[in-house]
């Protein structure tokens, strides 16, 4: 089963402490070694982003930054895992690192299961 982890936080959180970055690097390395992480990436500030929206039959394009958003997606990772519980366990460990190395920081990891071939294929 494939899962996408979306990490969300306030945009003006500031630069993460080095200890956190090191700990995340270590956790990612472990996940790669465990054969579970298939992709990951950090996202640039919303100042560099653009929203293309369709609403009431109109398409509008809006450039960032999107200061009105309380929390934005700051990064993502894609995992191949056996179960949702394994995904939750992974997210717990990831947030545990934030708690430990960045006191006062607030944010969340959203776990989204991705559709796989089994969801499109013929019904069993």
């Amino acid at each position: 089963m494939r899962f996408m982890m979306l990490v969300k936080h306030a945009e003006n959180s500031g630069a993460p402490p080095k200890e956190l970055m090191d700990a995340i690097a270590k956790l990612s390395e472990e996940a790669v070694k465990a054969g579970t992480m298939v992709a990951s990436g950090g996202l640039a500030p919303t100042a560099a982003s653009t929203r293309v929206r369709v609403s009431r039959g109109q398409i509008t394009t809006t450039d960032g930054p999107f200061t009105e958003a309380k929390e934005i997606v700051g990064g993502f990772a894609i995992f191949d895992l056996k179960s949702k519980e394994e995904a939750v366990e992974g997210a717990l460990r990831f947030m545990e690192l934030h708690k430990k190395h960045w006191p006062g920081w607030e944010g969340e990891t959203e776990i989204r299961q991705m559709y796989g071939p089994e969801d499109f294929g013929p019904k069993a």
Partner: protein
């Protein structure tokens, strides 16, 4: 968190941690079977305690510490027993004494080496292939006996017994918990790769109606392969196998039609290929190619799969390159099936006459005598050359040989088309 939630969390944690715990313990106790039992004891303790106490902050360390205590208890009991034996004039087993002394520091050392030892032990040639598969899934994949049984369509007691017997065999044969070196490494590594690919193919051959545990074997095999690739990053064949599995797995969503019928590679909707897996597969293949030495059979097969993955349409397929890769594959490991595939690639690259020449050389091959793809491929070449009567006979022969009902129908359709000297409408 309810007790059920906790149990599910424990399942997940076990999946993540069990191989590392078993591997770490096995190095100390020098017995994979015992290591697994000690790890299981720790799991039982977690199942008893965590619903009350909550999941500890570092559950992996908790499990390891608990298993370690069980190991110490085990050795204490054993030592006591041995002391009694000593009174009877026997000597303490030096190695086990060492093991107890070594205990504190040993567990914290690099876990990677231990995992690698565990891989080689679980796939040791002293074990039957079935035993290797079961033990690998159990010790490294963290699967339960029941899950393995479901995935391989065998009764649970059969798998349980297979595992018990395998552990006993390892212990009786005194298989060292070690990574093979020198010349032995290549042979032992190929045994490991064979086990992983077998697990993958078991999952890949599962059809739509099968229990989801079966297709999940592909994921297990991929995970094992990726772990192995990180453990021995300089072995090109490991990357080759991982690349092959990634690219094959990328087609999972496209290879079975709405009513469960298999869809041939060239007829698949390429938009349904998983681009993330293709991307990973191509990158992994590149890692294999960047290492020194000629490509081995897995890397060559991956390179062939990559040719298909890179082609946006079937027409863009680089058939001359595929034919050349099959040449290299046949050079290293000549087999009639490889030869038949080579003939198909050659026909696609250089025309049906060239393919027919290769296939004709195979018609006397005893191992292909009842292989329906041989007359089917030969029929296809003859058809393309306009030799319809001969083609019809070949398609009819192929239809009689296949055990797959849908394929049977398809082949008879092609045979009928030969009578008209044209392709049936649904055929390309």
């Amino acid at each position: 968190m309810t007790a059920t939630d906790t149990h599910r969390a424990i399942d997940a944690i076990w999946r993540i941690e069990s191989a590392k715990i078993i591997a770490g313990l096995a190095r100390i106790v020098r017995d994979v079977g015992l290591a697994e039992e000690l790890a299981q004891d720790a799991l039982v303790a977690a199942l008893e305690q965590w619903p009350e106490s909550g999941v500890p902050d570092n559950p992996g360390a908790w499990l390891m510490a608990t298993a370690k205590h069980r190991a110490i208890d085990f050795f204490r009991r054993k030592k006591l027993l041995e002391r009694k034996h000593e009174e009877l004039g026997r000597e303490l087993d030096a190695q086990q004494k060492m093991a107890v002394v070594d205990f504190g520091s040993a567990i914290d050392d690099d876990i990677g080496d231990d995992l690698l030892r565990l891989v080689f032990t679980a796939c040791h040639p002293v074990l039957s292939t079935e035993a290797r598969v079961a033990l690998t899934l159990r010790l490294l994949g963290g699967l339960t006996t029941e899950e393995i049984a479901r995935a391989f369509l065998v009764p649970e007691p059969t798998v349980a017994q297979r595992i018990v017997r395998a552990k006993r065999t390892l212990s009786e044969a005194r298989v060292p918990f070690d990574v093979p070196r020198g010349d032995e490494l290549a042979a032992r590594l190929s045994s490991v790769l064979e086990v992983i690919y077998l697990i993958f193919n078991e999952g890949y051959s599962a059809t739509a109606g099968d229990d989801w545990m079966r297709p999940a074997l592909c994921e297990d095999a991929l995970r094992l392969g990726r772990i192995l690739a990180e453990l021995v990053p300089k072995e090109p064949e490991v990357h080759g196998l991982v690349a092959l599995m990634e690219i094959q797995a990328s087609r999972s969503g496209a290879r079975i039609g709405p009513s469960g019928e298999p869809i041939l590679l060239l007829d698949q909707d390429r938009a349904r290929w998983d681009q993330l897996l293709i991307h990973r597969g191509l990158a992994t293949l590149q890692r294999a190619e960047e290492l020194r030495g000629a490509l081995g059979p897995y890397a060559l097969q991956a390179a062939i799969a990559a040719c298909h993955a890179r082609a946006r349409t079937p027409e863009e397929t680089d058939w001359p390159r595929i034919a050349a890769l099959y040449d290299a594959l046949a050079h290293g490991a000549r087999s009639p099936v490889v030869e038949l595939n080579r003939a198909v690639a050659v026909a696609m690259a250089f025309g049906p006459a060239a393919g027919l020449e290769l296939v004709d050389a195979l018609t006397s091959e005893p191992s292909l005598k009842s292989y329906h793809l041989l007359p089917s491929v030969r029929g296809d070449f003859l058809f393309k050359l306009g030799r319809f009567a001969e083609a019809q006979a070949e398609f009819e022969r192929a239809a009689a040989l296949t055990r797959n009902a849908r394929e049977h129908e398809l082949l008879l359709g092609r045979a009928r088309a030969c009578a008209h000297g044209s392709a049936p409408l649904e055929q390309r």
